[in-house]
């Protein structure tokens, strides 16, 4: 039998080799017709694990304070890589990981929420860059993805697709998880394959509440069992991409309490402790220097004493959340072991798709979306808001969407500077990786120090599986992968450097690595600050990217980027600057700051639709796809059938009590509640009972002015008769939620108005025939444009936080 031609996918079926007569008499079957492609002999199972928003100095495996026994086990039975690199942002790392191409080349210079109009920022995978799961699937692997996806553009996450941008379209046979950048771990709005399935029913079981990390592991194990029940030999590729440790930092109290008092010493001392352990473990060279604290982060000792417990709890929760992730990965590994296939499984486990996230600002937040909506809150305010929602013991519970302080993130990136979004420095780009595959690895427990990048992973998996990169997929000629396999390092700790050069770019922060030298060009903007003043220096025609500060490090001698050699090496600096521009052009990085183009007036066309109609059975409309009611007048009209004796329940609800709105009926009255990110909550109640029969109810919001977060007057109507009114002094300018959905006829997941918490999801007991949103364009075209630009600014700010 001739060798299978794997260079063109899908693999062609072999020609019929039997014989067909007029009848069965003389006919010969060819049983290969009903077969399917199989991978090359010896191709291993692959378990690819990606932890979210975590730093080099987080897991105990790399000297961090978070206990990660399963990660350590895999490292001790495999290899630790201490010079592994990612992009400094979620979606770009995922795109590079799953395509083997640099992220900008495949349209992911930024995140899925930000689908811009430049090739490197379209958030749309080019068809000449078939991703790894598609290649493995077509070569005979069973493929599945669990958890966070973050590679589907906002606005394309509903039943209309298009589904080539969903996990199945990337080549996964099965998907269970969420499409966006973050999700509640208690009441996520989930997708399964090509359907948004919303919040799992188990959420309503108070005795055994749903918890997404546990469910992820359960589903993965179920899938493995099911695949093996059908086929004892077919290799699998399981992509286990945790929502942890991205915000909201959700975990049960007992996990957080394991760390009670462990962070009372503060972030400055925590860095020193982590650094000492890293040296003791040998995961950093003995001569490494601990980088200094930037003045953007306050010294722990300068914090008010009465707020230190608040800050410490933030990190306790993050640590418990992260340890739980380690535990659930451990469950999956145990299941593979029980199948007797652990030693035939290549495990690649990356702790962080970027450095730990600084997007909680210095204060941390009870609700991660407050920062993105531009609500200024001091740490005392954040503490009080957390008290409003249950206090520090509830930090991590479903009632809050917490994010910790940027300074904890910085400490999690020990020994480096900065963190997520800062592509110029190792705090954003260098993360732990461990690899286990006893069949190939020699020197279990050893450290590998070769400079490696996330773009190398797909290429390595293909090499280890014996599968070539395809020349064509679906008849489309393929661009070669950019990755350089690190397979040789599995057997040889002294293997030659497989990658000698790599560009980095995230939100204008640039790095250029070549032969040990690293040029770092960070913009002066502090990553979590997106104010007009902070952005003004980067406007088109103002910003000269070559004029900013350039730092130069020689990494073989300076593991942490502590010694800036730029002043003594101007020629090297220029050489690397020139190299960066060449790479940037080659890989579609340009134009720089395309991620922030909306901040400078480059916005998509103003949508023309002003009317949005939802029939009564529509549920789980993801938050990026609800009608654009922000910053303008609008109305919500619902046609109801109310039975004799009355009805109660939700007519329409978006998101939850930490940002959202609900129009509902309770005690016979029509009620509208609007949560301005959980900071302000406005409620209007009708003064008369809702009649029975065919009834039309309406909520009208009359905005004060064409400005973000405008206040305005609310009027409630029943059959065109005003029945109630009230004022909302502030409205949400950008986005109610990062993940919670809008529902007709019920309020799935966490509820908007706690008054019906005990009745959730509080389905309407009459009939909701349809709900119509009418948004009112501003009378002056310039006002409409200004509001549109402001909304786009906000979306970009949201995107940068995912």
């Amino acid at each position: 039998m001739s060798a299978i031609d794997r260079s063109h996918l899908p693999i062609r079926r072999t020609a019929f080799s039997g014989a067909v007569g007029k009848t069965l008499d003389g006919s010969q079957p060819d049983w290969n017709l009903i077969g399917h492609p199989t991978p090359p002999e010896g191709a291993p199972n692959v378990l690819l694990v990606l932890i979210d928003d975590a730093g080099f100095g987080n897991p105990s495996t790399f000297g961090g304070p978070i206990q990660t026994p399963n990660y350590t086990r895999i490292a001790e039975e495999g290899l630790r890589y201490n010079r592994f690199h990612v992009t400094a942002l979620c979606s770009p790392t995922r795109a590079a990981l799953l395509t083997g191409r640099n992220s900008h080349t495949v349209g992911f210079g930024s995140v899925g929420e930000f689908a811009g109009g430049f090739p490197g920022y379209s958030a749309t995978l080019p068809r000449d860059c078939a991703p790894l799961p598609r290649i493995l699937k077509d070569n005979g692997y069973s493929t599945a993805a669990f958890g966070k996806w973050h590679l589907t553009p906002d606005g394309q996450q509903g039943p209309a697709g298009p589904f080539d941008r969903w996990p199945n379209g990337w080549g996964f046979d099965y998907f269970y998880g969420f499409l966006g950048g973050g999700a509640s771990q208690w009441d996520p709005c989930l997708a399964e394959n090509q359907k948004i399935i919303g919040t799992p029913a188990e959420f309503y079981d108070e005795e055994n509440p749903y918890y997404f990390p546990d469910a992820m592991a359960d589903r993965t194990i179920e899938w493995l069992h099911a695949v093996r029940a059908q086929d004892a030999h077919k290799p699998f590729f399981a992509y286990f991409s945790t929502g942890c440790s991205h915000s909201p930092h959700h975990v049960a109290k007992e996990w957080a309490d394991k760390y009670k008092g462990k962070f009372d010493q503060g972030w400055d001392k925590l860095r020193e402790e982590t650094f000492a352990r890293q040296k003791e473990l040998g995961v950093i060279p003995a001569e490494t220097e601990l980088t200094a604290r930037d003045e953007a982060f306050p010294a722990w000792d300068d914090l008010p004493d009465n707020l230190k417990a608040f800050y410490a709890r933030q990190m306790e929760v993050y640590a418990g959340y992260s340890e739980n992730a380690d535990s659930n990965v451990g469950r999956v590994i145990h299941a593979i072991d029980e199948l007797g296939e652990l030693d035939n499984t290549l495990i690649i486990w990356i702790w962080g798709d970027n450095g730990a996230s600084m997007e909680g600002t210095i204060t941390g937040s009870f609700n991660e979306l407050t920062m993105q909506n531009g609500i200024p809150l001091t740490d005392e305010m954040q503490l009080q808001l957390s008290e409003r929602y249950g206090g520090l013991d509830a930090w991590g519970a479903a009632i809050m969407d917490p994010h910790y302080s940027a300074a904890w993130a910085w400490a999690g990136n020990t020994p480096f500077q900065w963190g997520k979004q800062v592509g110029s420095h190792l705090g954003g780009t260098r993360n732990p990786m461990v690899v286990r595959w006893p069949a190939r690895i020699e020197g279990a427990g050893e450290l590998r120090t070769q400079f490696t990048h996330v773009v190398d992973v797909a290429t390595t998996i293909l090499e280890l599986a014996g599968i070539p990169q395809p020349d064509t997929v679906d008849g489309i000629e393929q661009d070669p992968m950019h990755g350089s396999s690190f397979a040789a390092t599995l057997t040889d700790g002294a293997a030659a450097e497989h990658r000698t050069q790599q560009y980095f770019e995230t939100v204008g922060n640039r790095g250029m690595y070549k032969d040990g030298w690293w040029l770092a060009m960070k913009t002066d903007r502090i990553p979590w600050v997106l104010t007009p003043d902070a952005l003004r220096p980067y406007a088109p025609g103002v910003w000269d990217p070559d004029a900013g500060r350039a730092e130069l490090y020689y990494l073989p001698d300076d593991f942490s980027q502590a010694k800036d050699l730029a002043a003594d090496n101007p020629e090297r600096v220029q050489e690397l600057k020139d190299l960066f521009w060449g790479e940037a052009e080659r890989y579609k990085v340009l134009p720089l700051l395309a991620t922030m183009s909306t901040f400078f007036g480059i916005v998509p066309p103003i949508p023309q639709d002003t009317k949005f109609e939802f029939r009564g059975d529509v549920q789980n409309v993801l938050s990026g796809m609800i009608p654009r009611i922000y910053n303008r007048s609008y109305s919500i009209t619902a046609d109801l059938v109310v039975p004799e004796g009355g009805a109660e329940g939700v007519i329409v609800a978006e998101a939850d009590h930490l940002g959202g709105f609900t129009l509902y009926v309770m005690d016979g009255k029509l009620i509208h509640t609007y949560s301005m990110m959980g900071v302000f909550i406005f409620k209007q109640v009708a003064e008369e009972d809702l009649p029975s029969g065919e009834v039309t109810v309406r909520m009208e919001f009359a905005a004060d002015e064409a400005k973000p977060a405008t206040g305005g007057e609310v009027t409630l109507f029943v059959d065109d008769r005003p029945v109630g009114k009230g004022r909302m002094d502030h409205t949400v300018p950008i986005r109610f939620s990062g993940y919670a959905g809008m529902d007709i006829g019920r309020d799935n997941g966490g509820v908007v108005d706690r008054a019906y918490e005990s009745k959730k999801p509080f389905a309407f007991t009459g009939t909701v025939k349809k709900v119509v949103f009418d948004i009112t364009p501003h009378l002056v075209a310039q006002d409409e444009l200004d509001v549109h630009i402001a909304e786009q600014h906000g979306q970009a700010a949201h995107a940068l936080s995912e």
Binding site: E380, Q384, H730
Partner: protein, 175 residues
């Protein structure tokens, strides 16, 4: 000391949580100095209003703090600033100024106190300003008004002064 003997101060504090307001309320009552009284008004997430007060003026033979409407504040400016919470609280006081403490004030509070928010009002002789102000550590917005005269006039004057300052502070968007 009698209430008529010296200048009267009124402190208004705004809070985002009932816990913080009650913490300060307890702190001022336990600051070791004699106050005229204090009132804390709060509304929980389900919209239930609670009001707690300590009134020492009655012991002095005065009309009581309820007589001057101690639950005070200012109107809410349309600012996107969290500090506006304090100002929003003020709406209670503005309307409640001439109401007696009791069900009527609670009804007013129900209409105007933000869900999840709280307000603290403290009346005290000017001589204990330092002790009272240092006990109020958690307000996200705080003003102090003062006035002289007989007890009712002084209290109302201090209240009005505090309201004015709260309005000015809120208009500036800082707290």
């Amino acid at each position: 000391m009698k209430i008529d003997d010296e200048t009267t101060d009124v402190l208004i504090g705004g809070y985002l949580s009932t816990e913080a307001a009650h913490e300060d309320y307890e702190a001022v009552l336990n600051c070791g100095k004699r106050l005229w009284g204090a009132v804390v008004v709060s509304k929980d997430l389900e919209g239930n209003v609670s009001l707690e007060q300590t009134d020492h003026t009655v012991e002095e033979g005065a009309v009581g703090l309820g007589g001057v409407g101690l639950v005070v504040g200012l109107f809410a400016p349309p600012l996107l600033a969290a500090t506006a919470i304090g100002a929003a609280l003020g709406a209670v006081g503005g309307k409640a100024l001439h109401k007696k403490i009791g069900s009527q004030v609670e009804k007013m509070a129900e209409e105007t106190i933000p869900i999840g928010g709280a307000g603290l009002i403290v009346a005290y002789p000017h001589s204990v300003t330092e002790e009272v102000e240092s006990a109020v550590t958690r307000s996200v917005q705080k003003v102090v008004g003062e006035a002289e005269g007989n007890h009712v006039k002084a209290l109302k004057g201090a209240l009005a002064d505090a309201q004015k300052k709260m309005a000015e502070q809120s208009a500036q968007g800082n707290g």
